[in-house]
């Protein structure tokens, strides 16, 4: 396995099952295949993060589209908002 230079896309393609008395229970996987697999994982995580950012903006847009139309007279002052969540002591002059 140490002679292998190029990782495969599949982690298990070249894996060999080993274990005491030929009963298996463990896998021997070429290091290059493990490295290739970890690279793929990082790539997937990056893609997922990008998609999560997109989803975040979509959800936000949905929420904001209703609220942006609220008439100004219906908005709460900071003092009213803070009081509604028991945080009046946190609002003061900046």
């Amino acid at each position: 396995m140490s002679k292998l230079r190029k990782g495969r896309a599949s982690l298990l393609e070249r894996a060999v099952e080993v274990g005491p008395r030929g009963k298996g229970g463990a896998l021997l996987i070429p290091t290059v295949d493990v490295e290739a697999f970890l690279d793929q994982m990082t790539e997937r995580e990056d893609q997922i993060e990008l998609l999560q950012d997109e989803i975040e903006d979509l959800g936000l847009a949905q929420l904001v589209s209703k609220r942006i139309e609220t008439p100004e007279e219906d908005l709460l002052s900071l003092e009213e908002l803070a009081a509604s969540v028991g945080r009046s002591h946190l609002v003061g002059s900046e």
């Binding site: 989803i55 903006d57 609220r67 609220t70 709460l76 945080r87």
Partner: protein, 143 residues
């Protein structure tokens, strides 16, 4: 200079339901009960700080038109915030507001939302669509 900051009534709901919302959040994004209380403290403090500086955070320039011109500030009750798989900070909360009528002449700072960055609604909608498709597929298969 002090700016007028007002919040949408929905922001009260955002803060009051923050604890209950955590049930839908994956474990690695979830806020503990103590963190929820700290997050509410931070949100109120940040809104108060908009009175002197409404230019904080980043201007949203996404594909969603309704968000254009709004500002977002990511924050987290933990300092430092949790990190992502690359080790980069990943604050879990966001404060969203809009400077009206525009950034160069602010008459009102409208706070639009304080929410967790994990939004489970699109996932639930997708899961529901998937379940519908499976049901339809099952019916077609049995007919």
């Amino acid at each position: 200079m002090s700016y007028t900051v007002k919040a949408d009534p929905g922001v009260t709901d955002d803060l009051r339901t923050l604890k209950a919302q955590q049930a839908d959040v994956p474990l690695d994004w979830r806020l503990s009960d103590d963190e929820v209380e700290l997050a509410i403290d931070m949100a109120v403090r940040l809104m108060n700080s908009l009175r002197s500086d409404p230019y904080q955070g980043e201007v949203l320039r996404g594909k969603e038109r309704v968000l254009e011109g709004a500002r977002r500030l990511k924050f987290d009750p933990l300092d430092p915030p949790p990190v992502d798989h690359r080790g980069a900070p990943r604050p879990r909360m966001r404060l969203v507001w809009k400077n009206e009528p525009d950034e160069s002449a602010i008459g009102l700072v409208r706070v639009l939302a304080v929410c967790h960055r994990w939004d489970s609604r699109p996932y639930k909608a997708a899961a529901s669509r998937l379940a519908d498709a499976r049901r339809r597929h099952g019916k077609e298969g049995s007919s």
